[in-house]
Symmetry: C2
Subunit: 301 residues, 2 copies
């Protein structure tokens, strides 16, 4: 039984999991010799060779706490990353954020066209649930159902897509800090939390462990978004690989506009400390999760 | 135990199931008192009070063969209809078929805006799988997983969305009859087949019964599409509730353009006869399925 490997450095883990995700997507999306070739090329364009793979890293880092088989963590990661990639494709569309660049490459509707981008997103969305429903993900259907229920909830109107809908309204309304916090907890926090939860579900954790891991995930999700807001103002477009400073131009309230740079930085640092504190009952096997929490704050893209 | 009611007339069943679906969507989509109100209104606009509800009708008509509890058929129907409605919202977008009217009402991107339409579709997509993952749909997780796997496959790149991607290419390429048949088997046939399959999964049918029901579903799916092509040319826009004669204008090959009206009609009639023949081992409990097969051909919208 090949279990998730023992703790490694964050950089080694990031490299290893990026390569693993590229392999998984390559196997998932063979370009067919029929009129759907463009659709598959568009999905591959968005899914392969880019991104931080933060969500898969969280699945693996959590799964390693409980000696979960590697293939199971890889499949759960693949499903969550399908949802993440579909959301990026749709968010970049002209009717949404209208972005031309993503991960240093043209966005899907630029490299292909809008119709193909909409359908590529829809296909990745369906594939996420097809992957989770398969017994390769876990032999016990109770576990698969729990993964599916969690991902569907985290990505729907009470999670990611609901947060994105709130974000649309943010251009016309001045949200307060509570509303921005809730918006971000849904828009990016829900899928980050779902990644940790997936590792926990596969590991069949105790209730106490689950509570700790949920606290960890909630705090790094929020810290991630604050760091994103800071990167949006201070970051380098070439390093980040997409257009920056659009929220300010659109008049959207962010953690930065509401808190100011110093307080936002302090708040993010406090959240990272707090997330690590949630892991106090875990030993060195949780060092990768701790390293991810610090990375969330220090990354430059 | 409230089981699916005994055979009724097709018209009564259509009315009853339309009302049931409207009730289900009303309960699924309460408008929240937060910035997502527009998103929920958009989903309700698309989901409530319209459509033939052919797919739910097929779930119920199949489930009634096996005395499936009514609530289970209703929930499986709701999930499949979520997928159908999301696909209509996305297909109507300006980048896709660019339709202003659907079911006699403005399309979602007309009544709201494009961004809201994209997200409303994405949310209904996620809700479909959230509904199926819940134990109210069926207490046995094996049954829920089977429903989920089937719906994910039927709606993804090997089913509905893949067929829609082929349809995009149809404007630039002259497809032959085989390719048009495959395109339509995916674009509309897959979800129709999935509806019958869902009833069969809930009914825990024998392999022989499943083979018969699959044959039935395949044949009415194709007959449905041929009838749709005929309606597109001969139908009344007011009755159908959307713009017609767009395929011809776009230069797309259809069953009608490839076969001509007489042969297309004859082929649809033959498919309906054949679909009913697949039901020969079922008694009067399958009369509703037989009536649906005839209705597929004779409908005027």
């Amino acid at each position: 039984m090949a279990t998730v490997a023992p703790p490694v450095s964050l950089n080694a883990a990031l490299r290893e999991i990026s390569a693993e995700m590229d392999r998984q997507f390559d196997a998932l999306l063979p370009v067919p010799d029929d009129p759907r070739a463009n659709l598959y090329r568009a999905m591959r364009h968005a899914a392969i060779g880019g991104g931080k793979r933060l969500r898969p890293l969280l699945v693996f880092a959590t799964a390693r706490l409980f000696n979960v088989e590697r293939i199971r963590a890889a499949r759960a990661s693949l499903a969550i990353e399908c949802i993440h990639v579909y959301s990026l494709i749709h968010d970049d569309l002209p009717a949404m954020d209208d972005d031309d660049m993503r991960r240093g490459k043209p966005t899907v509707h630029k490299a292909y066209d809008e119709a193909t981008a909409i359908l590529a997103g829809d296909c990745l969305h369906a594939l996420a649930f097809e992957i989770l429903s398969h017994e390769l993900t876990h032999p016990d259907p109770h576990v698969r159902i729990e993964l599916i229920a969690d991902l569907a909830h985290a990505s729907g109107p009470s999670g990611m897509a609901g947060g994105q809908a709130m974000d649309l309204e943010a251009e016309d309304t001045s949200f307060d800090l509570n509303t921005v916090t809730r918006l971000q907890a849904m828009k990016t926090g829900a899928l980050i939390a779902c990644s940790v939860e997936a590792g926990a579900i596969l590991g069949r954790v105790t209730d106490a462990q689950r509570t700790s891991l949920r606290g960890y995930a909630r705090d790094i999700g929020l810290a991630f978004q604050i760091a994103d807001d800071i990167l949006d103002v201070e970051g380098d477009e070439a390093a980040v690989g997409k257009a920056l400073r659009k929220d300010g131009e659109a008049g959207k309230e962010t953690f930065l506009s509401l808190l100011g740079l110093d307080r936002a930085r302090e708040q993010a640092r406090r959240l990272v400390d707090q997330s690590i504190e949630h892991l106090r009952d875990f030993g060195p096997e949780a060092d990768l999760l701790r390293a991810i929490a610090r990375y969330v704050l220090e990354r430059d893209r």
